[in-house]
């Protein structure tokens, strides 16, 4: 019986120790955990997966470095998937510090795409990603609502040149591409209000299929748009990113993060359960003693 009371009165330093050991262990040693996918994320994956090569996907990278931890893995997973499927991508960044995010992702992803990889049993040859052929980065412009509306008419209205100063008309993949009508859909990865503008000004007026990648705290409040059909799919936080990585069979930072999160959560739950076992056991003993 003494053991149960010990379970209840454990020195908190044991918890600290176990937590740090588990976190460091799961951080340093790579192993995979199953990620349960949800239909909201599957919708985005299936959308990208079902497109024929050569189709254009519009990806808006509307987040700042402070939301990087959650949203950057989504960018990596989605863009890699698109390019492996030989889709073309138009990027914009309507958040002020967003272009830096796009730059970094493009550099890393070009390296990754150069290698041969196998995803979901399908072998993909490495290839070179060419600016202007595989993607166009339009860059940043202030007043996102007006930019979103303007792009609905013609991308050339807000962005006559791309981020690197090339006129859109001289970019090969932009030939005959005027507005959202020529894109298969829009994926907005955002950590703020820009999402609302994409829903009301973008999807609301131009009717393109809209998919969202959001930070964990934002996710809950956008679920109603799924029900109303305005949004076709949502990735929520690190969890959503991990789900996409799972679906695309491309484990990356999000799955790493989730591995640590899961084991840390399990440690905490384990201690809660232990505390309660100790609590009930000692209560029973006390009531027995009281009865006797």
């Amino acid at each position: 019986m003494q053991a149960f009371e010990k379970l209840m009165m454990l020195d908190r330093r044991w918890i600290f120790l176990l937590l740090i050991v588990v976190c460091v262990f799961t951080y340093v040693f790579d192993f995979s955990i199953p990620i349960l996918t949800e239909p909201e994320t599957e919708a985005i994956y299936n959308f990208v997966d079902s497109l024929p090569p050569g189709d254009i996907v519009f990806i808006a990278i509307d987040y700042d470095p402070n939301n990087m931890a959650e949203l950057h893995p989504m960018t990596y997973a989605v863009v890699e998937h698109c390019w492996r499927k030989e889709l073309k991508i138009i990027f914009t960044s309507l958040s002020q510090n967003g272009p830096g995010m796009v730059d970094q992702a493009l550099r890393d992803l070009s390296d990754s795409l150069a290698q041969d990889r196998t995803y979901n049993g399908v072998e993909f040859k490495g290839r070179e990603i060419v600016r202007g052929v595989d993607y166009t980065f339009l860059g940043y412009k202030p007043y996102y609502a007006i930019v979103i509306l303007g792009m609905g008419q013609n991308f050339r209205l807000p962005f006559s040149n791309d981020y690197y100063g090339t006129p859109l008309d001289s970019i090969p993949m932009m030939q005959g591409v005027f507005n959202y009508d020529q894109c298969a859909g829009v994926i907005d990865l955002s950590g703020g209000n820009i999402t609302d503008a994409w829903i009301s000004y973008g999807q609301g007026r131009f009717g393109f299929p809209l998919f969202l990648g959001l930070t964990g705290v934002m996710t809950a409040q956008y679920y109603p748009y799924l029900g109303s059909g305005q949004v076709k799919g949502i990735m929520g936080g690190l969890l959503g990113a991990a789900q996409y990585e799972e679906l695309a069979d491309n484990p990356g930072r999000a799955k790493d993060g989730m591995r640590i999160q899961l084991s840390a959560h399990l440690v905490i739950i384990l201690f809660i359960v232990m505390g309660n076992i100790g609590f009930f056991a000692s209560k029973r003993r006390l009531s027995k003693e009281g009865g006797a």
């Binding site: 209840m8 918890i15 199953p34 349960l36 809950a220 409040q221 840390a264 201690f271 309660n276 609590f279």
Partner: protein
């Protein structure tokens, strides 16, 4: 007069701010902006008082040789060095005698503090001389070294790379680590408090467990756990928040009104 005048001031300015809310005219807006500016300016004087208080408490600790008083030297040195970085600037490529100046100043502070703390008269005199010598040294260096200057002319302020480095490599890591301690404390708090002692504690425990398991793939019905915790965060959470917000709002309003009307005087120690 001494007692009543402040409460009259509270009343006048309180009522003024209430009326101002309903008057959109330029004059009222200007007055509003002025008052908010004033608070900030008074805050500067208060900050001086604050730094004085920190300084005084630290020196008192050293003087009274309280437990861990030696560490107060570190506070004072950190305080001074960072302040020095905030008010000086390198003029050329090299730092010149800048760091020697910093060291001399630190030595001066240490000498002054130790002088205050020492009981023995002879030792006191010795430390006083030490402080004087280092002070003179620091002044000489400050006058004759051209590699850096006190800059009361540069509006940009934080041009000093040392200021930046201290911020990035001392303040930020400590801040981030203090914040990261929360990961441990949230675990120990959960262990300690989440016991099903009664209905309320059980509800707290169950809700927390449910939400914490929302992405656990090993759980049966994992899909429904995720959905249920989403719903929990969306619906009952909204209801509770609204009830609390309305309560807090009324509490703030009630307290503010009592303060304006002079019913509540506890904040001036008159309860």
């Amino acid at each position: 007069m001494k007692r009543q005048a402040p409460f009259a001031l509270v009343f006048i300015f309180g009522i003024f701010m209430v009326i101002q809310f309903f008057v959109p005219h330029e004059t009222s807006e200007n007055a509003y902006e002025f008052l908010l500016d004033w608070i900030i300016i008074i805050g500067i004087f208060a900050l001086a008082l604050g730094i004085w208080s920190l300084f005084k408490v630290s020196t008192e600790k050293i003087k009274n040789r309280k437990e861990a008083s030696e560490y107060s030297y570190i506070t004072l040195i950190g305080l001074f060095v960072m302040m020095a970085f905030g008010f000086t600037q390198r003029t050329g490529e090299s730092w010149g005698l800048y760091f020697i100046w910093i060291l001399l100043c630190c030595a001066c502070i240490v000498a002054l503090m130790t002088m205050r703390a020492s009981v023995d008269q002879g030792k006191k005199r010795m430390w006083a001389i030490g402080a004087l010598v280092t002070l003179v040294g620091a002044i000489v260096v400050a006058i004759f070294d051209d590699a850096w200057q006190f800059y009361f002319t540069d509006p940009q302020g934080f041009e000093n790379t040392m200021f930046r480095a201290f911020f990035d490599y001392v303040m930020m890591p400590i801040l981030a680590t203090m914040f990261a301690l929360l990961a441990f404390f949230i675990a120990s708090a959960a262990y300690r408090a989440f016991r099903a002692r009664n209905v309320m504690a059980s509800l707290l425990l169950l809700a927390a467990l449910l939400v914490m398991s929302r992405f656990n793939p090993y759980l049966p019905f994992a899909e429904y756990v995720a959905k249920a915790s989403n719903w929990l965060m969306n619906v009952p959470n909204l209801a509770a928040q609204r009830a609390i917000v309305v309560g807090i709002g009324l509490g703030i309003v009630g307290t503010a009104l009592k303060v304006i009307l002079g019913i509540e005087r506890g904040y001036m120690g008159k309860g």
